[in-house]
């Protein structure tokens, strides 16, 4: 067992256990994020924007996997729903981006219910495969239908205007994603400490006992899917206008796995860990570019090692 390594990590992590220290660290990180584009240049800005996108996605999946304990292997489906809703409504129907957001959220809620309902009585193994199946169904549908642009997807998506400000440079999108990420963090924290968050905890630990306690497990689980879906969908919406073009390849199983890796590598259920995981997942390929094809293998091995030696991820969940 890799004991020395875990002890070192434990020591660093233990420094941040008091709330004021965590807020301070958070503030420092936000400040760094705010000045990053200016000091690091356009390429770094694009990469960091990507990292922030994954922060939101990972926090969303964290609600489903980390809080509610539902192993969703098809999370990219929600990402796709948001992206394609925005893509279709703005490109084909000419709606203004901000008007399409409620539709994206609505579509996400519907998707969350559709995907969540069949899994309600299933055990985690089956749940995982069913969600995987749904993820693939969404991807194939996007590829096969004309309204989603077929395999070529939708291109030429217009960038949004906000009170006369045209958001269309990487620089500007970066700050939009910073705001999104901050909102995502705040919402995640509130959820964790809410009654719903506690209900998820009970359901995750022992569903039958939770039922006996009077928790409506059906509603609680569906709530997890729906909220996770909304996170994913909003990410997808902004992803679509940022990139200007979307295609089915971005919503594959590999994408779902990547988001899941972000959640786990950092630590399920623990928000700072999930954020760290998202950065690892996005930055590592760029920093390790020379390693080319070894990247994915390294991630996979890393994931395996973490599962074997630190089942709660790099950042441990206090008081499981």
């Amino acid at each position: 067992m890799a004991q020395p390594r875990s002890n070192a990590f434990n020591n660093i992590i233990a420094q941040f256990d008091e709330p004021w220290k965590r807020y301070a660290a958070f503030a420092v990180i936000v400040a760094l994020l705010l000045i990053a584009p200016i000091s690091l240049g356009p390429y770094a800005t694009v990469i960091l924007t990507n990292a922030l996108l994954y922060v939101v996605l990972a926090l969303g999946l964290n609600v489903v996997v980390g809080y509610a304990g539902l192993l969703d292997l098809g999370y990219a489906a929600f990402f796709a729903v948001g992206a394609y809703t925005v893509g279709i409504l703005t490109h084909t129907f000419g709606l203004d981006f901000w008007l399409t957001l409620p539709f994206a959220v609505g579509a996400a809620m519907i998707a969350g219910v559709i995907i969540g309902t069949p899994t309600l009585r299933l055990r985690s193994d089956y749940l995982a495969i069913v969600t995987l199946g749904f993820g693939e169904i969404v991807r194939f549908s996007a590829r096969n239908m004309e309204i989603t642009g077929g395999a070529s997807g939708i291109s030429g998506i217009q960038q949004p205007w906000l009170f006369g400000w045209h958001i269309n440079t990487p620089f500007e999108f970066y700050y939009v994603f910073v705001v999104l990420a901050i909102i995502a963090v705040i919402v995640s924290v509130r959820l964790q400490h809410s009654r719903l968050g506690r209900a998820w905890l009970y359901v995750r630990h022992d569903e039958d006992a939770a039922e006996a306690m009077g928790i409506d497990t059906v509603r609680v689980k569906l709530a997890a899917y729906v909220i996770g879906a909304i996170f994913g969908s909003i990410s997808g919406a902004f992803f679509a206008v940022n990139l200007g073009a979307i295609s089915p390849e971005s919503f594959s199983f590999q994408q779902s796995v990547l988001i899941l890796m972000a959640v786990i590598l950092g630590g399920m259920g623990k928000i700072p860990g999930v954020i760290l995981g998202a950065f690892i997942v996005v930055l590592a390929p760029e920093l390790l570019r020379d390693l080319g094809e070894y990247r994915l293998l390294l991630f996979a091995v890393g994931l395996l090692l973490i599962m074997l030696f630190r089942p709660s991820g790099i950042w441990p969940v206090r008081g499981k």
């Binding site: 590829r143 077929g150 395999a151 070529s152 291109s155 990487p170 073009a245 295609s247 390849e249 080319g292």
Partner: protein
């Protein structure tokens, strides 16, 4: 301690900011990893060969060229990252682009950064409307390929067709275009199938084709799965013509399909060994890389030379000037004359018809 760190950081930053000596950087966008890596590597090699020739002749505008590779892995997301990296690397122009689906989102990035982009491989018609004006396609587009294919099918008296694609941007586009034009000419499409990537068993498609028994089957996707389909078609006893598009023009098709690939027709951009003016190129490429050039090497080579010529003609590295020079280009490439239509596509069709013969491609008569 702090001062040393500051100095060290500044030094590193300055070093990373680029050399101060006269050097022009060219970006190469190609899938050097992933399933199309052989094509991508091939393209990169060809561009570098062109660069070494240009440098030996004195460079461009007096400066030596160097290349920066952006690996798009044939994936749109990765392509965007690669393109951003190139865009912020102070490149004067970009040469490359193989997978159409991955190339489309990069157009905006190069457009916003005003970087001239010579596209040497990707040729889906979806690139045309997405082009902000600074991209130039030197591989004949899907429209030309369809015209060539229909011309060939007519020449062998085919009246019915089965079209199989793989559900990706390039092959689906080609399949749709073929269907449209074929039916518009009064012929029939008896089967329009999609082979999902990752499936090895095409028996359902093969049975559908065999039962419909069209005069010809047209596979519009890439060689790896094309080889499997050809094998299974022949194993099942289909005896009509089998034709493949330019995504399957790799010699690897024959190792996968085996003897089933005898007589298979391929529509392709010119492969080096069939180009009259490419003898020196083949020799130089083989000497530099230890193996002969692949199907997309001549175009990548031409693309680099074209860009260099345009920069010389523009007299500066100003993007607008280079753009204008490219639009007026009339360059004799080894793959054929390069001039552009108002839509920045190649003004003539460079497609030829190949035929599988003895385990490799030969020119069909």
């Amino acid at each position: 301690m702090k001062l040393t760190t500051l100095l060290a950081t500044t030094a590193i930053a300055m070093a990373l900011a680029g050399p101060a000596y006269a050097e022009m950087k060219i970006g190469i966008l190609a899938p050097t990893t992933g399933s199309e890596a052989t094509y991508g590597q091939d393209m990169a090699n060809a561009v570098n060969l062109a660069i070494s020739e240009i440098n030996a002749a004195g460079g461009v505008l007096g400066e030596q060229l160097s290349s920066v590779i952006g690996d798009d892995g044939c994936d749109p997301q990765q392509a965007v990252n690669a393109a951003s990296k190139l865009a912020s690397s102070d490149v004067v122009g970009v040469v490359g682009g193989y997978c159409s689906g991955a190339t489309v989102p990069t157009l905006k990035i190069f457009g916003d950064a005003s970087i001239p982009f010579v596209i040497t491989g990707a040729n889906s018609t979806k690139l045309i409307p997405a082009n902000p004006g600074n991209a130039f396609m030197i591989n004949s587009t899907g429209n030309d390929q369809v015209a060539k294919a229909i011309e060939y099918f007519n020449s062998v008296g085919a009246k019915s067709l089965a079209i199989v694609n793989q559900g990706d941007a390039y092959s689906q586009d080609l399949a749709d275009l073929t269907k449209k034009d074929w039916e518009a000419a009064g012929n029939t499409v008896l089967a329009f199938e999609v082979a999902n990537k990752g499936e090895q068993d095409y028996s359902a498609i093969v049975t559908a084709i065999r039962s419909a028994n069209p005069d010809a089957v047209f596979w519009t996707a890439y060689y790896a799965d094309g080889g499997l389909l050809i094998r299974q078609l022949r194993q099942a006893g289909y005896q009509g013509t089998i034709a493949v598009g330019d995504g399957s023009n790799s010699p690897e098709l024959f190792s996968i399909a085996g003897s089933a690939a005898e007589g298979v027709i391929g529509f392709s951009n010119p492969i080096a060994e069939f180009l009259p003016g490419a003898k020196d190129f083949i020799a130089d490429y083989t000497a530099a890389n230890g193996s002969p050039p692949g199907p997309y090497a001549p175009l990548a080579y031409d693309g680099m030379h074209l860009l260099a010529t345009a920069i010389e003609a523009a007299g500066s590295t100003d993007p607008a000037a280079i753009n204008a020079a490219l639009m007026d280009a009339d360059y004799p490439g080894i793959a054929g004359q390069i001039t552009f239509t108002p839509e920045n596509t190649l003004a003539r069709s460079n497609f030829v018809v190949l035929k599988g013969n003895g385990g490799k491609w030969g020119l069909a008569q």
